[in-house]
Amino acid sequence: MPTEVKLPRLGQGMESGTIVKWLKSEGEAVQKGEALYELDTDKVTQEVEAEATGVLLKIAVAEGEVPVGETIAFIGKEGETVEVTAPAPKAKPKTAAEPEKTKDESKPEPEQPPASSSTNGRIKASPLARRIARERGIALETLRGTGPDGRIVAEDVERGESKPAAAAAPVPSGQVESRPLSNVRKTIARRLTQAWTVPAFQLTVDVDMTRANELVQKQRELNPNVRITVTDVLTKVCAMALMRHPDMNVQYSEDALLVYPSADVGIAVAAPQGLVVPVVKNAERLTIAQIAQVRADLVSRARDNKLRSDDLEGGTFTISNLGMYEVDQFIAVLNPPQASILAVGQTRDLVVPLGGDLKVLPVMTMTITCDHRAVDGATGADFLKTIKAFLQDPGLAL
């Protein structure tokens, strides 16, 4: 009588696990204590040992999520047969493709992505496709490979991400138009939802922009071939402020606070396809004119939907400027995993009491949002004070 291999409970509270791959194939001899398969729980991925010696007669669940206690394989003597009593896992694999072996038993599944790129539980995907999928949190199992031999290539990941949800079949709904979610829209939704779970605080200050505006004018005269904007000055100023406040140039991660050596400043761009945040790398080392050039290139490629993944990676801080939309002030949502984002409003003339007198000054209101897990209020305030000081007296940034 063959021994049933059941999914073990490896820790308290474990209800199910995901079989990643089998380390033995059907018909292979197995020793008790030998690693038999890889199991992914919500905590770790680990190898699970065989509890019996013999031949692996049958793998009932090749991959996917399985409840604890479910029979996933049979070990017995050579030549023994196993009656397969349709071991269809109760918990349907959430994202994992249906194992090919059980496929013919189940009824044809509509819209299930074919597991053509999977062989023996190993999914065929190019290293680039794997990297993009990893970065965007897309499960390769949900994708269909169009490369040679069904390999998942980068294009499939991009396409998969923008693929409308299976349920988005044309609904004849009176007035409501159902637009499939675009690639970018999905990413925005996922990342900003993630941001919402982060404890954040905001700080707001007003800045006298007289000197900063003069600087923009002078820079334009000096660099007639480059279109220099307030955003470029802000980028430079923030980069220099980040260098003065390394405690702000950080990211919170589960086990450590990551302190970044350079100021890679993201700039929020309203592209036709949605919000994107390309990054000006090493902004602290660039001149304002160089920043303007890099920014112009990034913005124009963002508008043409031609940004590469490394244009969008690695930012340590973001600037979101809605001044051109005549917004006075606003609060930006964090751009995870970055620890802070600066929301910049328009510069407008305000009457300001100054030295016992009333003056009309160009005032810009900016609000910083900080990840409180990484940064405390006083640290953020100190940083914001430096930005303000640099804008009001740009020479201080030197």
């Binding site: 190019s126 680039l128 794997r130 169009t146 490369g147 040679p148």
Partner: protein
């Protein structure tokens, strides 16, 4: 910018260095009156005389050893090995002596010698006169290896090879001697160890050497007409290799084809592929393709020879495989 042939470019580098510098001289089989079996050194005997344009006996080992000895004494000899197939006869001197002396003398003795040689198929020279043996020499620490594919490159690189203080094995391709190209008025040295991008592209990087640079450029043009944008890079120096140029290109295009006329198996391209997969692993969207000769001695029969060595069409097919278009 004057237009000259690859052959004239080699001769110009040699003659210009010999005019500029008494330490530079050339030696080899039939290079004097005959002007070399490929005509590269024609006319040089008349200008420089038999002391500096030296015919040698038909012994590659003796000729290589003599050149190495002269180099150890401070000269800058350029020895011609008539066919690279005959490098095998000089290998003891090049591999065990030239490559090792600087190391074994603790840097006291340098060996500024150049071994110029040529090879390649395309004119039915048979199995013993058409091999591409650069992979034998890139494997030896202590040697630099150059393989230039255009008149400009061959002239600028030969100049740098002559003035390099280390032994350089300098490969030329037989079928490239008549090709023409523009070169700068004055010789501009091309640094050893720097690749050249012949054509920029977005989808696939083809890394090619020697004759295959030209075949790859043809293939790139055809691929372009099929909507595939191809970057073509010639490393020019095989040892040391310009890893950075190759890797950064592949990081941009995410796909690579390595093409040379030498036999594919265990070839130079295998090392390039290894460098790319290691340094650009997470950027690769397709397996790295290799294009080279089939694993067989080169046939004499022209049809069979054409069948064995790679052409533009082979490069094109490899390009299309990387983008899943065939």
């Amino acid at each position: 910018m004057p237009e000259i042939t690859y052959r004239e470019a080699v001769r110009d580098a040699l003659a210009t260095a010999m005019r500029a510098d008494d330490d530079v001289f050339i030696m080899g089989e039939d290079i004097a009156e005959m002007g070399g079996s490929m005509g590269v050194t024609q006319g040089m005997l008349a200008e420089f005389g038999p002391d500096r344009v030296r015919n040698t006996p038909i012994s590659e080992m003796a000729l290589a050893g003599t050149a190495i000895g002269a180099a150890m004494q401070g000269m800058r000899p350029v020895a011609e090995i008539m066919y690279e197939d005959f490098l095998t006869l000089a290998a003891e001197q090049i591999v065990n002596q030239a490559a090792k002396v600087r190391y074994m003398s603790g840097g006291q003795i340098s060996v500024p010698v150049v071994f110029r040689t040529q090879g390649g198929a395309g004119w039915s020279p048979g199995a013993q006169h058409a091999q591409q043996l650069e992979a034998w020499f890139v494997h030896i620490p202590g040697l630099k290896v150059v393989f230039a594919s255009t008149p400009e490159d061959v002239r600028g690189l030969l100049w740098s090879a002559i003035y390099d203080d280390n032994p350089v094995v300098f490969f030329e391709h037989r079928t490239l001697y008549p090709i023409k190209g523009n070169v700068p008025e004055k010789i501009e040295p091309i640094p050893i160890g720097k690749a050249r991008t012949h054509r920029e592209g977005e989808d696939v990087t083809v890394i090619a050497t020697g004759r295959l640079v030209h075949e790859s450029l043809k293939a790139a043009e055809e691929a372009e007409s099929q909507g595939v944008s191809v970057e073509v890079i010639d490393p020019r120096t095989l040892q040391p290799l310009d890893d950075e140029a190759l890797v950064s290109s592949v990081k941009k295009t995410n796909r690579a084809v390595v093409a040379h006329e030498a036999v594919t198996r265990m070839g130079f391209g295998a090392e390039v592929a290894a460098v790319l997969q290691y340094q650009a692993f997470d950027w690769l969207d397709a397996p790295i393709e290799r294009v080279g000769a089939k694993f067989t001695p080169l046939p004499f029969a022209p049809v069979m020879e054409q069948f064995v060595v790679p052409h533009a069409e082979d490069v094109l097919q490899a390009i299309l495989r990387t983008v899943g278009k065939n």
